[in-house]
Symmetry: C2
Subunit: 516 residues, 2 copies
């Protein structure tokens, strides 16, 4: 090993490692994964498309594949920030390399394994991951694999394009493999704010963050060099987040959202100039809302969210957005180039934080977040299903939507009113899986319109949801359901016919369409 | 009016009003309610059995009754802290005096009106009430009726036995009626901590409360004397919270909870001496847990909850509990006597706060609350129904359970495994109403056992929930459901048969029992 370390040191390809204790540990990815064993709990960096380890995870998949080919069982528990680069998730899923997955995924191969029951998946709020791992709910964390963009002379780590749970992984893991990625611009250093003040109760203190742009931490991760068992050098682009231009449906949804903001401003419920900090999920609808804001009257907006997508860069460039806080840069190829080419500018308008802070209930409540998240479907009373197609098959996971919806100031859920060419209605009598309860949803939006449920009892909600949000093709069937449910004796506060409540979904399973 | 004020002043029966601006406004309850008009939004004091106005609300019910007798329509929107003294709720419901009710109720007459659709009811998290009313989601608050125990020389108000939303009502209401209740011991003054630091975003600051006993506010309410239109003097006991001794089922549930605490201590996940601050709902199960703690090894425990019941007084007296924070004293007759007779002692161990703070997500998260709440039923995947019998008929409301479960450290839901003599199973394939999602429930407890769901995927959860918590009479049917749901092709992450998922409930509606 000593000989090898010397060789590696000489072979260092970049000038990113400024501390000898780490230079001495440079090895190839293939050598690094020898530290990972079957049954290990492996915590890796990565949040959305940014910051996933680029060399060690493929090498791990390869090792597992070869191990399986030789008849040995080899799988690990995989903990991440959220989704990771989808080729990584796919490679590990294809070799049946993951026995337990937490807390979020968005990749077809892994999704198939989860839905087939061959991969255990635990779908928890992203703000809960750090404390639950600290508490040991997922057992001992054997090893962390964390991408960084450099190592300072004092042995601290400069993060790359996402932070996610990396601080926690470095703290809790028994062993650490670092990937030092020289593709990340050195000028990105300083964009990060890593807060070291969280603790387990009874030792928690107030998190003194009162504005989106506040810095409360340091720009680097701390690490115990003795835990670092390998350092791997890479020079590899982040994978790109796909992006298609907003279509007419997305633009219609966005337009209802923007009208609603003006309505709230006119009632004195939102500050006229800068509204309140915006959170939005990933996707075309979210991008359409951002585009709409860019064309609107507001300047100096702020965002407090999980990911920064291309649209946000435009808004920052135009001054529409003054400051954006997130935990990851989930950009397209073009977005990555835009960021990298103008990093000195963007570093003044963007901060990346641990997801423990980007999604923290204390901060979300205090800042008064306007939470805008996608959904699969909502029912007539405002319960929202974000995760389970037909109640059983998981799509991705709840992610941070509950962190923002539950503690935010305005909780909005957005979706086209239909899916699968109109054969699925996004407004149903009863959702077969609830991720956000009627108590936590205030506004539903489809391209048809916006249902403002604040202050409404269930019987008033059902009318508003159907008339404002349901597709016209499904309104009669929904009104008919309500009429029949309300007509029975003892109909109750929230009228339902249990025999019919899931009939839309059953019909889809039976006929391929929710239509009558 | 001037003559009348002079007479009233002379007629003042107590020595509780130390400011002339208020003495000059003393009137009878019948006169006071002339300030309340049909269609008004009326915000009254009261949280559980404590602090409900005792003279003005009956006078209002009487006024509405007479008004209706003369053919006029008369109803108000009624905002409270949570439930209020049940005779008050009943009197107003009996005369159809409430058109909209918010945020919680627990009284049979009102419940019938809500379930019949004749009273609008909005069931929201108790921590959300203040901000939503400030924002105007319930329109203009025309008048507040608030019980206090005295008025100081500087014109501030000494609270009575609950705080609830009183601070907010006094701030937002256009007009105010005060009831000064001389039954409340003067020695109770000082037990309260009224925090005036909350604000609407973007003006929110950290709430600097880091321990259960911290005082961050003042002992009195502020009020604009110009808004006070009437002062009514009373000398009336709080209504008593009923209490029956814990039965064998409650004791068995408590015993599982206590064993779990020791298990967590042994794993190093709870501090061995004082655990973490406890929150528990109202009821016999909660009382049984407290009794069990009183007989156990822990001393110096703390509680951060909504209400203090009789059991808590015993624990404080014995030193088992060092300090308890709440927003209301919901005591039995004997409990009231115990408190009043030893108020100087209890005042050193109890603080009452606004419910905005007792239930605040920021504080709940920071303190690391162990949340123990009752439930109606849970499903095999851990979704919890706290509010709707058979999915349609509301029982009470979500209250603060979501405030604590969603942001707390350990989220536990407790219930006997059956109801109605065994004809209802509290563990079902799918709950027909979700108040707490699978993402927010960690531990389910019945007298049968305790299901620890932390870190488990849905397919693992179903086995644990059935085997640990379901009544033996229902286990086979539940296992059969799981087996059939998992056996279909493409069973999914969370297997369900939509045609059978609500069959337990449908069977109960059809036959009066969930049994096959």
């Amino acid at each position: 090993m000593n000989v090898h370390h010397l060789l590696s040191d000489v072979a260092s390809e970049s000038n990113r490692i400024h501390h000898s204790a780490f230079r001495n540990k440079i090895v190839s990815a293939e050598e690094a994964v020898q530290h990972i064993h079957a049954g290990d709990t492996v915590a890796i960096s990565g949040f959305a498309s940014a910051g996933t380890p680029k060399a060690v995870t493929p090498a791990l998949a390869d090792r597992i594949r070869r191990s399986r080919a030789s008849g040995a069982d080899f799988a690990v528990n995989l903990l991440t920030g959220a989704s990771v680069a989808s080729d990584t998730e796919r490679m590990l899923a294809e070799v049946d390399g993951i026995s337990l997955r937490m807390p979020y995924q968005a990749e077809p191969t892994a999704r198939r394994s989860i839905n087939a029951g061959s991969m255990d998946y635990v779908d928890i709020h992203l703000s809960h991951v750090a404390q639950q791992v600290w508490e040991g709910y997922y057992g001992h964390v054997d090893i962390a694999v964390v991408e960084v963009s450099g190592i300072t002379e004092t042995g601290e780590l400069i993060p790359s394009a996402s932070i996610g749970n990396n601080k926690t992984w470095l703290d809790v893991a028994e062993k650490i493999i670092l990937e030092v990625n020289s593709w990340v611009p050195t000028a990105m250093a300083g964009i990060h704010d890593v807060y070291y003040g969280t603790a387990l109760p009874p030792h928690r203190k107030p998190i003194m963050l009162t504005a989106v742009e506040d810095r409360i931490g340091q720009t680097t991760f701390r690490v115990d060099p003795d835990k670092v068992v390998a350092v791997v050098e890479t020079n590899a682009r982040d994978s790109a987040s796909g992006l298609t231009p907003p279509d007419a449906v997305s633009q219609a949804i966005a337009s209802h959202v923007l009208d609603f903001f003006e309505h709230e401003v006119s009632r004195g419920r939102l500050p006229a100039d800068s509204l309140l900090p915006l959170q939005s999920g990933i996707g075309n609808v979210a991008n359409a809302v951002l585009q709409g804001l860019d064309a609107g009257p507001h300047k100096g907006l702020t965002c407090y969210s999980e990911v920064i997508q291309d649209g946000m860069l435009h808004l920052i460039k135009h001054g529409t957005v003054r400051f954006a806080s997130a935990t990851s840069l989930a950009l397209s190829e073009a977005g990555i180039d835009e960021l990298v080419s103008n990093i000195d500018f963007y570093r003044e308008h963007i901060v990346l934080r641990p997801q423990e802070i980007s999604n923290h209930p204390e901060v979300v409540r205090r800042l008064g977040i306007i939470a805008m998240n996608g959904m699969l479907e909502a029912d007539i009373y405002g319960n929202v299903n974000s995760t389970h197609v037909m109640g059983t098959k998981i799509m991705n996971g709840i992610g941070g939507s509950g962190d923002f919806a539950r503690n935010g100031y305005l909780s909005m859920f957005l979706s086209p009113s239909t899916a699968k060419g109109g054969s699925i209605s996004s407004i149903v009598p009863m959702v077969p899986h609830v991720d956000h309860t009627e108590h936590d949803t205030q506004v539903l939006v489809t391209e048809q319109g916006l249902a403002d449920l604040r202050g409404l009892s269930p019987r008033r909600r059902s009318r508003v949801v159907i008339d404002k949000c349901a597709h016209p093709d499904y309104r009669d069937a929904l009104h008919d359901y309500v009429a029949r449910a309300e007509s029975v004796a003892d109909a109750g506060h929230t009228p339902h016919l249990l025999g019919d409540a899931l009939s839309f979904h059953q019909r889809f399973l039976d006929t391929g369409s929710m239509r009558l």
